[in-house]
Amino acid sequence: MNIALGRYIPYDSIIHRLDPRTKLLALIALLVAIFFKLSFWEYAFLIVVCLALILISKVKFRSILQAFKPMWLMMLFLLIINVLVIKRGDALFTIASFTCYSGAIFQTLQIIIRLALMISLTTILTSTTKPLDLTYAIEWFLSPLRVLRFPTHEIAMTISLALRFIPTLFEETQKLIKAQASRGVDLQSGKLKEKIGGLVSLIVPLFVSAFQKSEELADAMEARGYNPGAKRTRYRKLDFAIRDLVGLLVCALIVFLSIYSSYHPEIVRTLEIWKN
C-alpha cells in the first residue's frame, strides 16, 4: 500500500524547521513565478531550484513521482487535444493527412512542466510541514480580514479538522478495501459493472462513518466547552527566525530573477554568449 499523497514525513531538515508562514508564502511566490510566461531557460532554472529543494528537504523522489500518478492520464489527454487544435510552429510530421505542429508539442510541454513543478513544490510543502502548522499559517495570513468580520478562526479550524481526518479516512478506506475484497470485490481485474458495485461498497460506508465521526466530534468539542467566537491563546507559537528571513530573501530572488529575465530575454542571451 502506498502512503497518502503529500503526507507529512517527520525528517529533520532545514526546510522542516522553517516557519510554516515562510514556506507558505514561498510556495505562493514560486507558483506565481511558474505561471508567468517563461521561456525554456527560466523553466530549467526553476526545475533546478525545485530539485535542490527536494534534496534539501529529504523528500523521496518516489513520493513525488507518486503524486504525479493521477496526472498521467490528464497529461496524455492534454497532449492529444493540443495536437488536434494547435496549428502554430513548424509542421513536424504528418500521419494520414493530419499534421502535427511543433507549437502543439511545446505548448503541452510547457503545461506539463508547470504542473510538475506545481505538484512537486506543493508536495515538498506538505511533506515538510505538519498540517496543523500549515493551518496556523493560513490563519495568520487571513487574520487581517478579521476586521471585516471574516471568520478566520472558524475557517482555520475547519481546515485543520479536515486535514486531521485525512489520514483517518485513508486508514478507513484501506480497511474497507480489505473487508470488501474479502467479500469478493475485485477492483483490479473485475468487470466494469462489478468495479462500480465495488466502489459503491466503499463509498457508502465511508460516508456513513464520516458523518458519524463529525457528529461525535462536534459533541465532544461542545462537551469540552468549545466556542468558536471565544478569544483563544495557542499552545504552539510560530516563531520567525533568521533562517526564515534568509529563506524568503532567496525565494524572492528566485522569483524576481525568473520573472525579470522572462521580460528581458537579452539577459539569457548574454548568458548564452558568455557560456560560449
Partner: protein, 286 residues
C-alpha cells in the same frame, strides 16, 4: 489441507519513516478442521498474520500455503477470488462494512460476487440470517436501522453466506453483550462441528479455553507458543511472560489446587467441568 506459514515476514510501509515490521519470521501450521485461537498482546501481529491467509497481505519473505494456493512475495495469485471464497474473513467491527439498502442485499453481496444467483442465492441468505439468530423479517430492513449488535450479526451472516471452508474471525465478540457473545461463540462451534476450519483472534481467554482446540500465542511478530488451550493456560510462568491473563475458571481451579484440592486441571474448561471435577475429587474423599 492444513494452512502453513513458512518463515513469513511482513513489513508495513517499507523504506519510509513509518516502516514497521509486524511479522518477523512466522513458522506455523494450522490444522485442517481445527478451531484455532490466535492470542497475544495488542500489536503482536495477530491481525496482520490472519490477513495473509486470504492474500489481503503478502509476505515480504517466506510463504503461506492454503490448500493449493501459494502466497508469497512474487507470485500473482491466479484465482484470488476463489481463495477469498475458500477463506472467509470477518474483520474486527465488521458492522462498518454494511452498505446496501436492505439487509438481504447486503448478505447476498458476497455470494453474488462469487457467482451465486437466483433461488440458490436466496436460500443462502435465508439460511445465513437464521444462523446468526435473526429472523427473515429483518431481510427487508435497512442495515443502518438496526442496533450495533444486530449489525454485527448481519455482517457475520454476510460472510457465512459465502460458505467458506476456512472461517477467519478477528475479535468477533469484542463489544457484544455477554449473552450475544455466547450465542456467537456457540454459532462458531456449530460451524466447526460441520467440519470447517475456524481461526479466531480473541482476547477473551474464557472462550478460547471453552471452545478452541488449539492456541497460537504471538509475541512481537513471532510465534511464542502453540499448544492445546489447557496446556498453555495451566503454565502460569509462561502466561506471565506473554502478558496473558488466564481464564477465570483456570485461575479459580488453580487456587483450589493450591488449597490442596487435588483436581485435574486438564479436565477443566468451563463451570460444569469444574463442578464435576470437584464432585469427583470430593466424592473420592468420602
Amino acid at each position: 489441507m492444513p494452512i502453513e506459514f513458512k518463515n513469513v515476514s511482513h513489513t508495513y510501509y517499507p523504506g519510509t519513516p513509518f516502516e514497521y515490521q509486524a511479522l518477523r519470521g512466522i513458522d506455523l501450521v494450522i490444522k485442517d478442521q481445527s478451531f484455532t485461537a490466535i492470542v497475544g498482546h495488542t500489536g503482536s501481529g495477530k491481525s496482520t498474520l490472519v490477513q495473509h491467509i486470504n492474500a489481503l497481505l503478502k509476505p515480504d519473505s517466506g510463504e503461506v500455503r492454503v490448500n493449493d494456493y501459494v502466497i508469497n512475495h512474487k507470485s500473482k495469485i491466479k484465482n484470488i477470488k476463489s481463495l477469498r471464497k475458500l477463506a472467509g474473513m470477518v474483520f474486527q467491527f465488521p458492522e462498518y462494512q454494511l452498505f446496501e439498502e436492505t439487509i438481504f442485499k447486503d448478505i447476498a453481496f458476497g455470494p453474488k460476487n462469487f457467482g451465486l444467483e437466483g433461488k440458490e442465492l436466496e436460500e443462502r441468505v435465508l439460511k445465513a440470517i437464521k444462523l446468526v439468530g435473526l429472523d427473515e423479517t429483518y431481510l427487508e430492513k435497512s442495515p443502518f436501522d438496526i442496533s450495533g449488535g444486530q449489525k454485527r450479526r448481519v455482517a457475520i451472516a454476510g460472510i457465512l453466506a459465502m460458505e467458506p471452508e476456512i472461517l477467519i474471525l478477528d475479535e468477533p465478540t469484542a463489544g457484544l453483550d455477554p449473552q450475544g457473545a455466547k450465542e456467537m461463540m456457540n454459532l462458531f462451534a456449530e460451524i466447526h462441528r460441520q467440519g470447517k476450519t475456524i481461526i479466531m483472534i480473541s482476547h477473551e481467554m474464557d472462550y478460547v479455553l471453552e471452545y478452541c482446540d488449539e492456541v497460537v500465542v504471538l509475541k512481537k511478530g513471532l510465534v511464542a507458543a502453540q499448544d492445546k488451550p489447557i496446556n498453555i493456560f495451566s503454565k502460569a510462568e509462561l502466561l506471565k511472560g506473554l502478558h496473558i491473563t488466564p481464564p477465570a475458571i483456570i485461575d479459580f481451579a488453580n487456587r483450589l489446587i493450591a488449597n490442596k484440592l487435588p483436581i485435574d486441571i486438564k479436565k477443566v474448561f468451563d463451570i460444569e467441568s469444574l463442578i464435576s471435577e470437584i464432585v469427583r475429587v470430593k466424592g473420592g474423599n468420602k
